[in-house]
Protein backbone atom coordinates (compact mmCIF):
# COMPACT_ATOMS: atom_id res chain seq x y z
CA UNK A 1 0.00 0.00 0.00
CA UNK A 2 1.26 3.47 -0.83
CA UNK A 3 2.49 5.24 2.27
CA UNK A 4 0.78 8.46 1.26
CA UNK A 5 -2.49 7.25 -0.21
CA UNK A 6 -4.87 8.99 2.17
CA UNK A 7 -2.98 12.27 2.08
CA UNK A 8 -2.96 12.08 -1.68
CA UNK A 9 -6.71 11.56 -1.84
CA UNK A 10 -7.17 14.69 0.28
CA UNK A 11 -4.66 16.62 -1.82
CA UNK A 12 -6.49 15.68 -5.02
CA UNK A 13 -9.71 16.96 -3.53
CA UNK A 14 -8.10 20.29 -2.65
CA UNK A 15 -6.69 20.52 -6.16
CA UNK A 16 -10.21 20.10 -7.47
CA UNK A 17 -11.38 23.02 -5.37
CA UNK A 18 -12.45 21.35 -2.10
CA UNK A 19 -11.08 23.60 0.64
CA UNK A 20 -12.57 21.40 3.37
CA UNK A 21 -10.10 18.67 2.49
CA UNK A 22 -7.26 21.06 3.23
CA UNK A 23 -8.62 21.52 6.77
CA UNK A 24 -8.09 17.81 7.32
CA UNK A 25 -4.48 18.06 6.17
CA UNK A 26 -3.89 21.02 8.49
CA UNK A 27 -5.48 19.22 11.44
CA UNK A 28 -3.32 16.20 10.82
CA UNK A 29 0.03 17.94 10.43
CA UNK A 30 -0.19 21.15 12.46
CA UNK A 31 1.54 19.76 15.54
CA UNK A 32 4.33 18.17 13.56
CA UNK A 33 4.87 21.37 11.64
CA UNK A 34 4.96 23.56 14.74
CA UNK A 35 7.43 21.18 16.34
CA UNK A 36 9.55 21.32 13.20
CA UNK A 37 9.52 25.12 13.08
CA UNK A 38 10.47 25.28 16.74
CA UNK A 39 13.92 24.08 15.75
CA UNK A 40 14.38 27.54 14.30
CA UNK A 41 12.38 29.71 16.68
CA UNK A 42 11.82 29.14 20.36
CA UNK A 43 8.67 31.11 20.79
CA UNK A 44 5.59 28.88 20.36
CA UNK A 45 3.42 31.76 19.11
CA UNK A 46 5.98 32.70 16.49
CA UNK A 47 6.33 29.04 15.49
CA UNK A 48 2.57 28.86 15.01
CA UNK A 49 2.63 31.99 12.87
CA UNK A 50 5.34 30.51 10.69
CA UNK A 51 3.49 27.21 10.47
CA UNK A 52 0.36 29.09 9.45
CA UNK A 53 2.28 30.90 6.74
CA UNK A 54 3.74 27.60 5.55
CA UNK A 55 0.28 26.05 5.29
CA UNK A 56 -1.01 28.99 3.28
CA UNK A 57 2.00 28.83 0.97
CA UNK A 58 1.40 25.12 0.56
CA UNK A 59 -2.24 25.72 -0.32
CA UNK A 60 -1.26 28.25 -2.98
CA UNK A 61 1.40 25.93 -4.39
CA UNK A 62 -0.78 22.84 -4.32
CA UNK A 63 -1.70 22.98 -8.03
CA UNK A 64 1.98 22.30 -8.74
CA UNK A 65 2.14 19.32 -6.37
CA UNK A 66 2.25 16.16 -8.49
CA UNK A 67 2.60 13.56 -5.78
CA UNK A 68 6.15 12.61 -6.72
CA UNK A 69 7.00 12.81 -3.03
CA UNK A 70 4.85 12.34 0.04
CA UNK A 71 2.69 15.34 0.88
CA UNK A 72 4.31 15.79 4.28
CA UNK A 73 7.80 15.72 2.74
CA UNK A 74 6.72 18.49 0.41
CA UNK A 75 5.08 20.43 3.23
CA UNK A 76 8.17 19.91 5.38
CA UNK A 77 10.36 21.62 2.79
CA UNK A 78 7.99 24.57 2.55
CA UNK A 79 7.96 24.94 6.34
CA UNK A 80 11.74 24.77 6.59
CA UNK A 81 12.16 27.47 3.94
CA UNK A 82 9.50 29.64 5.56
CA UNK A 83 11.17 29.29 8.96
CA UNK A 84 14.61 30.12 7.58
CA UNK A 85 13.26 33.19 5.82
CA UNK A 86 11.49 34.26 9.00
CA UNK A 87 14.70 33.93 10.99
CA UNK A 88 16.65 35.96 8.42
CA UNK A 89 13.93 38.58 8.37
CA UNK A 90 13.88 38.71 12.16
CA UNK A 91 17.66 39.05 12.33
CA UNK A 92 17.46 42.02 10.00
CA UNK A 93 15.02 43.76 12.32
CA UNK A 94 16.20 42.84 15.81
CA UNK A 95 14.35 45.77 17.32
CA UNK A 96 11.19 43.69 17.43
CA UNK A 97 12.81 41.41 19.95
CA UNK A 98 14.79 43.94 21.86
CA UNK A 99 12.12 44.58 24.40
CA UNK A 100 14.27 46.58 26.75
CA UNK A 101 15.61 49.08 24.27
CA UNK A 102 12.50 50.68 22.83
CA UNK A 103 8.93 50.17 23.75
CA UNK A 104 7.69 50.45 20.17
CA UNK A 105 4.30 49.16 19.15
CA UNK A 106 5.86 46.21 17.37
CA UNK A 107 8.01 45.14 20.26
CA UNK A 108 5.15 45.68 22.65
CA UNK A 109 2.91 43.55 20.50
CA UNK A 110 5.49 40.80 20.36
CA UNK A 111 5.89 40.91 24.11
CA UNK A 112 2.17 40.60 24.51
CA UNK A 113 1.97 37.67 22.15
CA UNK A 114 4.82 35.90 23.88
CA UNK A 115 2.96 36.19 27.10
CA UNK A 116 -0.25 35.09 25.49
CA UNK A 117 1.32 31.92 24.17
CA UNK A 118 2.68 31.01 27.54
CA UNK A 119 -0.22 31.90 29.77
CA UNK A 120 -0.70 29.59 32.70
CA UNK A 121 -4.12 28.74 31.35
CA UNK A 122 -2.68 27.74 27.98
CA UNK A 123 -0.04 25.60 29.62
CA UNK A 124 -2.61 24.01 31.91
CA UNK A 125 -4.78 23.10 28.96
CA UNK A 126 -1.95 21.45 27.11
CA UNK A 127 -0.90 19.63 30.25
CA UNK A 128 -4.50 18.60 30.86
CA UNK A 129 -4.74 17.11 27.38
CA UNK A 130 -1.46 15.29 27.77
CA UNK A 131 -2.33 13.85 31.14
CA UNK A 132 -5.76 12.79 29.90
CA UNK A 133 -4.24 10.95 26.96
CA UNK A 134 -1.57 9.33 29.10
CA UNK A 135 -4.10 8.24 31.68
CA UNK A 136 -6.28 6.76 28.97
CA UNK A 137 -3.33 4.87 27.52
CA UNK A 138 -2.39 3.50 30.91
CA UNK A 139 -5.93 2.20 31.29
CA UNK A 140 -5.83 0.32 27.98
CA UNK A 141 -5.46 -3.44 27.76
CA UNK A 142 -1.89 -4.46 26.99
CA UNK A 143 -2.47 -5.40 23.35
CA UNK A 144 -4.24 -2.13 22.54
CA UNK A 145 -1.61 -0.07 24.37
CA UNK A 146 1.24 -1.80 22.57
CA UNK A 147 -0.41 -1.30 19.18
CA UNK A 148 -1.10 2.41 19.63
CA UNK A 149 2.32 3.14 21.11
CA UNK A 150 4.13 1.30 18.34
CA UNK A 151 2.11 3.27 15.84
CA UNK A 152 2.27 6.76 17.34
CA UNK A 153 5.56 6.70 19.19
CA UNK A 154 7.63 4.43 16.96
CA UNK A 155 5.88 5.27 13.71
CA UNK A 156 5.63 1.64 12.60
CA UNK A 157 3.32 0.61 9.78
CA UNK A 158 0.46 -1.81 10.40
CA UNK A 159 2.45 -4.53 8.71
CA UNK A 160 5.46 -3.94 10.93
CA UNK A 161 3.26 -3.89 14.03
CA UNK A 162 1.63 -7.13 12.91
CA UNK A 163 5.04 -8.72 12.60
CA UNK A 164 6.09 -7.38 16.00
CA UNK A 165 2.91 -8.53 17.73
CA UNK A 166 2.61 -11.73 15.71
CA UNK A 167 -0.94 -11.12 14.58
CA UNK A 168 -2.76 -10.31 11.31
CA UNK A 169 -2.73 -6.77 9.91
CA UNK A 170 -6.51 -6.60 10.32
CA UNK A 171 -6.13 -7.23 14.03
CA UNK A 172 -3.62 -4.40 14.28
CA UNK A 173 -6.02 -2.06 12.55
CA UNK A 174 -8.78 -3.06 14.94
CA UNK A 175 -6.59 -2.68 18.02
CA UNK A 176 -5.39 0.76 17.03
CA UNK A 177 -8.93 1.87 16.30
CA UNK A 178 -10.21 0.58 19.63
CA UNK A 179 -7.34 2.23 21.46
CA UNK A 180 -8.17 5.53 19.81
CA UNK A 181 -11.80 5.17 20.63
CA UNK A 182 -11.00 4.63 24.30
CA UNK A 183 -8.67 7.62 24.42
CA UNK A 184 -11.11 9.76 22.46
CA UNK A 185 -13.92 9.17 24.93
CA UNK A 186 -11.85 10.85 27.63
CA UNK A 187 -10.37 13.47 25.37
CA UNK A 188 -13.77 14.55 24.14
CA UNK A 189 -14.73 15.45 27.67
CA UNK A 190 -11.79 17.83 27.83
CA UNK A 191 -12.60 19.41 24.51
CA UNK A 192 -16.36 19.51 24.78
CA UNK A 193 -16.81 21.20 28.07
CA UNK A 194 -15.07 19.31 30.77
CA UNK A 195 -12.90 22.35 31.21
CA UNK A 196 -14.83 24.71 28.97
CA UNK A 197 -11.66 26.58 28.24
CA UNK A 198 -10.36 24.91 25.16
CA UNK A 199 -9.60 27.59 22.63
CA UNK A 200 -10.31 25.48 19.63
CA UNK A 201 -9.81 21.93 18.58
CA UNK A 202 -6.34 21.02 17.46
Amino acid sequence: MSADVSDLSLVRRVQRGDKGAFDALVLKYQHKLVKLVMRYVRNPAEAEDIAQEAFIKAYRALPQFRGDSAFYTWLYRIAINTAKNAVVSRDRSPIEYDLDRNNTDESYDMQGRMKDSETPEGLVLTDEIRSTVNAAIDALPEDLRTAIVLRELEGLSYEEIAAAMDCPVGTVRSRIFRAREAIDRRLREVFEGGLGRVEELG
Binding site: S9, V14, D18, L125, I129, R173, D184, L187, E200
Partner: protein, 227 residues
Protein backbone atom coordinates in the same frame (compact mmCIF):
# COMPACT_ATOMS: atom_id res chain seq x y z
CA UNK B 1 -21.49 7.45 14.36
CA UNK B 2 -21.00 4.05 12.91
CA UNK B 3 -18.07 1.97 14.03
CA UNK B 4 -16.99 0.87 10.60
CA UNK B 5 -16.69 4.47 9.49
CA UNK B 6 -14.60 5.33 12.53
CA UNK B 7 -12.41 2.32 11.93
CA UNK B 8 -11.85 3.49 8.36
CA UNK B 9 -11.07 6.98 9.62
CA UNK B 10 -8.46 5.61 12.00
CA UNK B 11 -6.83 3.58 9.24
CA UNK B 12 -6.96 6.54 6.87
CA UNK B 13 -5.26 8.72 9.46
CA UNK B 14 -2.40 6.21 9.46
CA UNK B 15 -2.28 6.06 5.64
CA UNK B 16 -3.32 2.41 5.89
CA UNK B 17 -6.66 2.53 4.11
CA UNK B 18 -6.98 1.20 0.53
CA UNK B 19 -7.04 3.94 -2.10
CA UNK B 20 -10.60 3.29 -3.23
CA UNK B 21 -11.93 3.64 0.31
CA UNK B 22 -9.77 6.71 0.83
CA UNK B 23 -11.44 8.50 -2.05
CA UNK B 24 -14.89 8.05 -0.56
CA UNK B 25 -13.85 8.85 2.98
CA UNK B 26 -11.85 11.91 1.94
CA UNK B 27 -14.98 13.31 0.35
CA UNK B 28 -16.99 12.75 3.50
CA UNK B 29 -14.22 14.01 5.76
CA UNK B 30 -13.97 17.29 3.92
CA UNK B 31 -17.69 17.98 4.53
CA UNK B 32 -18.51 16.35 7.85
CA UNK B 33 -17.46 18.61 10.72
CA UNK B 34 -18.03 15.93 13.32
CA UNK B 35 -15.76 13.54 11.46
CA UNK B 36 -13.22 16.29 11.02
CA UNK B 37 -13.26 16.99 14.77
CA UNK B 38 -12.57 13.34 15.50
CA UNK B 39 -9.76 13.38 12.93
CA UNK B 40 -8.32 16.41 14.73
CA UNK B 41 -8.45 14.60 18.08
CA UNK B 42 -6.55 11.68 16.56
CA UNK B 43 -3.82 14.17 15.71
CA UNK B 44 -3.87 15.56 19.26
CA UNK B 45 -3.53 12.03 20.66
CA UNK B 46 -0.46 11.41 18.55
CA UNK B 47 1.12 14.70 19.59
CA UNK B 48 0.38 13.97 23.24
CA UNK B 49 1.84 10.45 23.05
CA UNK B 50 4.98 11.78 21.41
CA UNK B 51 5.17 14.47 24.10
CA UNK B 52 6.10 17.14 21.61
CA UNK B 53 7.47 19.80 23.89
CA UNK B 54 6.45 23.38 23.29
CA UNK B 55 3.61 22.40 20.98
CA UNK B 56 0.28 23.71 22.19
CA UNK B 57 -2.30 21.02 21.78
CA UNK B 58 -5.19 23.46 22.11
CA UNK B 59 -3.84 26.00 19.63
CA UNK B 60 -6.17 27.72 17.21
CA UNK B 61 -3.80 27.19 14.30
CA UNK B 62 -6.13 25.03 12.23
CA UNK B 63 -8.95 27.55 12.58
CA UNK B 64 -6.69 30.43 11.60
CA UNK B 65 -5.43 28.61 8.54
CA UNK B 66 -8.97 27.68 7.56
CA UNK B 67 -10.06 31.32 7.89
CA UNK B 68 -7.13 32.50 5.80
CA UNK B 69 -7.77 29.86 3.14
CA UNK B 70 -11.44 30.81 2.93
CA UNK B 71 -10.44 34.16 1.46
CA UNK B 72 -8.13 32.51 -1.05
CA UNK B 73 -9.41 31.73 -4.54
CA UNK B 74 -10.54 28.17 -5.16
CA UNK B 75 -7.77 26.19 -6.80
CA UNK B 76 -7.95 25.32 -10.47
CA UNK B 77 -10.19 22.41 -11.25
CA UNK B 78 -7.43 20.58 -13.09
CA UNK B 79 -4.53 19.35 -10.97
CA UNK B 80 -0.99 19.42 -12.30
CA UNK B 81 -0.59 17.01 -15.22
CA UNK B 82 1.08 13.73 -14.50
CA UNK B 83 3.65 12.87 -17.16
CA UNK B 84 3.06 9.12 -17.16
CA UNK B 85 -0.68 9.31 -17.63
CA UNK B 86 -0.36 11.93 -20.30
CA UNK B 87 2.08 9.78 -22.22
CA UNK B 88 -0.09 6.72 -21.90
CA UNK B 89 -3.29 8.54 -22.81
CA UNK B 90 -2.01 10.20 -25.96
CA UNK B 91 0.52 7.77 -27.36
CA UNK B 92 -0.13 8.90 -30.91
CA UNK B 93 1.12 12.44 -30.32
CA UNK B 94 4.84 11.65 -30.20
CA UNK B 95 4.44 9.27 -33.12
CA UNK B 96 2.72 11.96 -35.17
CA UNK B 97 5.39 14.49 -34.23
CA UNK B 98 8.17 12.13 -35.21
CA UNK B 99 6.48 11.40 -38.54
CA UNK B 100 6.08 15.12 -39.27
CA UNK B 101 9.71 15.81 -38.46
CA UNK B 102 10.87 12.89 -40.60
CA UNK B 103 8.81 14.20 -43.50
CA UNK B 104 10.33 17.65 -43.17
CA UNK B 105 13.80 16.13 -43.06
CA UNK B 106 13.30 14.08 -46.22
CA UNK B 107 11.89 17.03 -48.16
CA UNK B 108 14.70 19.28 -46.98
CA UNK B 109 17.43 16.81 -47.93
CA UNK B 110 15.93 16.21 -51.36
CA UNK B 111 15.63 19.94 -51.94
CA UNK B 112 19.23 20.55 -50.90
CA UNK B 113 20.55 17.83 -53.15
CA UNK B 114 18.64 19.34 -56.01
CA UNK B 115 20.05 22.76 -55.23
CA UNK B 116 23.58 21.43 -54.98
CA UNK B 117 23.33 19.71 -58.34
CA UNK B 118 22.12 22.85 -60.06
CA UNK B 119 24.60 25.28 -58.61
CA UNK B 120 27.84 26.09 -60.30
CA UNK B 121 31.18 26.57 -58.61
CA UNK B 122 32.67 29.45 -60.50
CA UNK B 123 34.92 31.46 -58.22
CA UNK B 124 34.87 35.20 -58.23
CA UNK B 125 37.76 37.45 -57.57
CA UNK B 126 37.38 40.34 -55.20
CA UNK B 127 39.72 43.08 -54.29
CA UNK B 128 40.30 43.46 -50.63
CA UNK B 129 40.93 46.74 -48.95
CA UNK B 130 44.57 47.14 -48.02
CA UNK B 131 45.33 45.82 -44.56
CA UNK B 132 41.96 44.16 -44.07
CA UNK B 133 42.08 40.51 -43.23
CA UNK B 134 39.25 38.54 -44.76
CA UNK B 135 38.43 34.99 -43.73
CA UNK B 136 38.88 32.58 -46.54
CA UNK B 137 36.98 29.54 -47.59
CA UNK B 138 39.22 26.73 -48.67
CA UNK B 139 38.83 25.73 -52.28
CA UNK B 140 40.75 22.52 -52.54
CA UNK B 141 37.97 20.95 -54.53
CA UNK B 142 38.61 23.32 -57.43
CA UNK B 143 42.33 23.93 -57.36
CA UNK B 144 42.65 24.38 -61.10
CA UNK B 145 39.93 27.01 -61.38
CA UNK B 146 40.37 29.02 -58.25
CA UNK B 147 43.68 29.77 -56.69
CA UNK B 148 43.25 30.73 -53.03
CA UNK B 149 45.55 33.43 -51.84
CA UNK B 150 46.27 34.25 -48.23
CA UNK B 151 46.35 37.91 -47.34
CA UNK B 152 50.08 38.23 -47.00
CA UNK B 153 52.19 41.33 -47.33
CA UNK B 154 52.33 42.54 -50.87
CA UNK B 155 49.18 40.73 -51.92
CA UNK B 156 46.12 42.92 -52.57
CA UNK B 157 43.63 40.41 -53.82
CA UNK B 158 42.18 37.03 -52.98
CA UNK B 159 39.85 34.57 -54.56
CA UNK B 160 36.60 33.43 -52.98
CA UNK B 161 34.71 30.48 -54.39
CA UNK B 162 31.24 31.94 -54.07
CA UNK B 163 28.92 29.10 -54.83
CA UNK B 164 30.18 26.29 -52.57
CA UNK B 165 30.23 28.55 -49.54
CA UNK B 166 26.70 29.71 -50.14
CA UNK B 167 25.45 26.22 -50.75
CA UNK B 168 26.83 25.01 -47.45
CA UNK B 169 25.58 27.82 -45.23
CA UNK B 170 22.32 29.24 -46.49
CA UNK B 171 20.25 26.07 -46.76
CA UNK B 172 21.35 25.13 -43.25
CA UNK B 173 20.19 28.46 -41.89
CA UNK B 174 16.89 28.12 -43.65
CA UNK B 175 16.47 24.62 -42.36
CA UNK B 176 17.34 25.65 -38.85
CA UNK B 177 14.85 28.49 -39.02
CA UNK B 178 12.25 26.12 -40.37
CA UNK B 179 12.83 23.67 -37.57
CA UNK B 180 12.64 26.41 -34.97
CA UNK B 181 9.45 27.78 -36.48
CA UNK B 182 7.88 24.34 -36.22
CA UNK B 183 9.29 23.58 -32.83
CA UNK B 184 5.84 23.63 -31.27
CA UNK B 185 4.81 20.51 -33.12
CA UNK B 186 8.05 18.62 -32.82
CA UNK B 187 9.81 17.21 -29.82
CA UNK B 188 13.28 18.48 -28.80
CA UNK B 189 14.74 15.03 -29.47
CA UNK B 190 13.30 14.97 -32.96
CA UNK B 191 14.69 18.43 -33.71
CA UNK B 192 18.09 17.44 -32.43
CA UNK B 193 18.07 14.27 -34.52
CA UNK B 194 17.08 16.20 -37.60
CA UNK B 195 19.83 18.76 -37.22
CA UNK B 196 22.38 16.08 -36.37
CA UNK B 197 21.42 14.05 -39.42
CA UNK B 198 21.58 17.11 -41.59
CA UNK B 199 24.95 18.20 -40.25
CA UNK B 200 26.31 14.70 -40.71
CA UNK B 201 25.09 14.82 -44.26
CA UNK B 202 26.68 18.24 -44.75
CA UNK B 203 29.90 17.02 -43.20
CA UNK B 204 30.14 14.24 -45.74
CA UNK B 205 29.44 16.64 -48.57
CA UNK B 206 31.91 19.20 -47.34
CA UNK B 207 34.56 16.56 -46.87
CA UNK B 208 34.28 15.35 -50.40
CA UNK B 209 33.55 18.53 -52.27
CA UNK B 210 34.90 21.45 -50.36
CA UNK B 211 37.30 19.78 -47.93
CA UNK B 212 36.70 22.33 -45.19
CA UNK B 213 34.95 22.17 -41.79
CA UNK B 214 34.34 25.89 -41.47
CA UNK B 215 30.90 25.89 -43.09
CA UNK B 216 29.84 23.14 -40.71
CA UNK B 217 30.70 25.38 -37.81
CA UNK B 218 28.50 28.01 -39.36
CA UNK B 219 25.66 25.54 -39.56
CA UNK B 220 26.07 24.66 -35.93
CA UNK B 221 26.03 28.30 -34.94
CA UNK B 222 22.89 28.87 -36.92
CA UNK B 223 21.25 25.94 -35.27
CA UNK B 224 22.23 27.07 -31.80
CA UNK B 225 21.41 30.71 -32.00
CA UNK B 226 17.63 30.50 -32.39
CA UNK B 227 17.42 28.21 -29.40
Amino acid sequence: MNEELDSQLSAMFDNELPAAECELLARRLSRDEQLKARWGRYAVMGAAIRAERGVRLNAALAGRVSAAISSEPVLAAEPAPQPRKRWAGSWWQPVASAAAVAGVAIVSILWMRQQMGAADSVPVTQTAAPGVSVPLVATRSVPSRATPSINTAGSDSYTVPRSPGRRLIVPSTELANYVVAHSEVSSPMARRNLLSAFMASESGTAGTSAGSEEPIEDVQDDAKNPQ
